[in-house]
Symmetry: C2
Subunit: 232 residues, 2 copies
Amino acid sequence: MAKRVTSVTPVTRPVLTRERIVQAAVDLIERGGVDGLSMRGVAAELGVAVMSLYNHVPNKSALLEGVAEYVVAGMDLPDDPDEPFTDRARALVRAFRKVAHDYPRSMTIVFTHKIDTPIGLRPAERALALASAAGFDGETSVRIMRALMAYALGAQMREVGHAKVLDHETPITEGTGGLDPAEYPHVIAFAPQLARYDPETDFEFGLDLFIEALDALHRRLDAAGGGGDAAT
Amino acid sequence: MAKRVTSVTPVTRPVLTRERIVQAAVDLIERGGVDGLSMRGVAAELGVAVMSLYNHVPNKSALLEGVAEYVVAGMDLPDDPDEPFTDRARALVRAFRKVAHDYPRSMTIVFTHKIDTPIGLRPAERALALASAAGFDGETSVRIMRALMAYALGAQMREVGHAKVLDHETPITEGTGGLDPAEYPHVIAFAPQLARYDPETDFEFGLDLFIEALDALHRRLDAAGGGGDAAT
DNA sequence: TACGTCTTACGTACGATGTACGTACCGTGT
DNA sequence: ACACGGTACGTACATCGTACGTAAGACGTA
């Protein structure tokens, strides 16, 4: 009920809050990378003393969890139950791509921290919803959900570039000179295609594969269990 | 080509080397987590002074790269070109699972660091090899490779537990009491299936989906006779 | 043999970081 | 008026990564 103003400096100090702290952290991360984030930096960004942060956040690791939660909470998850489940699945995975695009550097945190709040379950809920609506049983729905998550996570990790692992383009783009032709014949042969990097198309290609497999599984389900009516 | 022995204490000090440093780092990480790793810790583990490490490793970040490289280099990648490409793909992705199982905590590093040495390209080479052997054209092979990587990475990330993200079982296993039934009806409804967590089966389920989609794509390719029309 | 150079191990030292702890302030309920 | 709970703050410390200077052996050359 009470007004929450510091009375003396109402405008210059918009009240320190966990939300503002997390947002500042996200900003700093996007600006200077995860390694660049420090409690002192966050405090400075907000024009506060360092220890003031600890009134709202128990420690840095909790702050990072907050960052992950913030990013996931920012996911736009439209869902139209009337659409075919394949389209709904597509939309869900694309939502991942969207946030990964908006908060590329913070994504690392999302990947490597767990989220304690129910918010983290939103994507799972959507996935389960569309799978079970398609007629899959509970166990299969859960598995589908996990498979979707796996692809969404992995694809985004690769794209964000934090996982340049196993397919980073740098050395290839710079020429395959140093590579042993005996050990990496295909990498060398496909260097041009490897160099041409189109995340969008790559992402959609893999997504199509996945969705198609889901659809096939679905058709099989209809044919077997539901009787002769396989139309959708 | 001189002998590299310290002469005085040959046994007690097996010569400090980058390899030994990286291995010690991996050990420490597996024992105490990534956050627990410190240069001082590594030095102590090896019975050396901290700064001696810097004769073989420029900085900590480089050491971490070394860790990632070490783990990936440890991947066992058997490959029989005579097998159907689907089986080869399966084996490749399973190899990921294997290392992730052997070095669960170091996996975080692998996920979040790029690997500069050609070693990091080994999995890519294998993927490209099997895709092109199956008859896919270069562009499609590259895309298939990337999609496989995405699933392999994502699935492993989830399983390793570092990415309990979006589907962590903790709150669910402990009961769905706190969840709003209006917002998370399916999560609540499928709580039993969510709680029953069988990584092996989950992994294989998703892998099957993927491989099946690849196979379908392949059949379509054969039928058409053309090169590599993507999944459209 | 004597000497200059190179490589490696080491110790000291500094700046930056996360955070435990004590203090001062303010708004609110009694 | 007074006590209290929450919030902002400053100081202090342990720990970290690492720049720098030093010493001791290995080796090529004279």
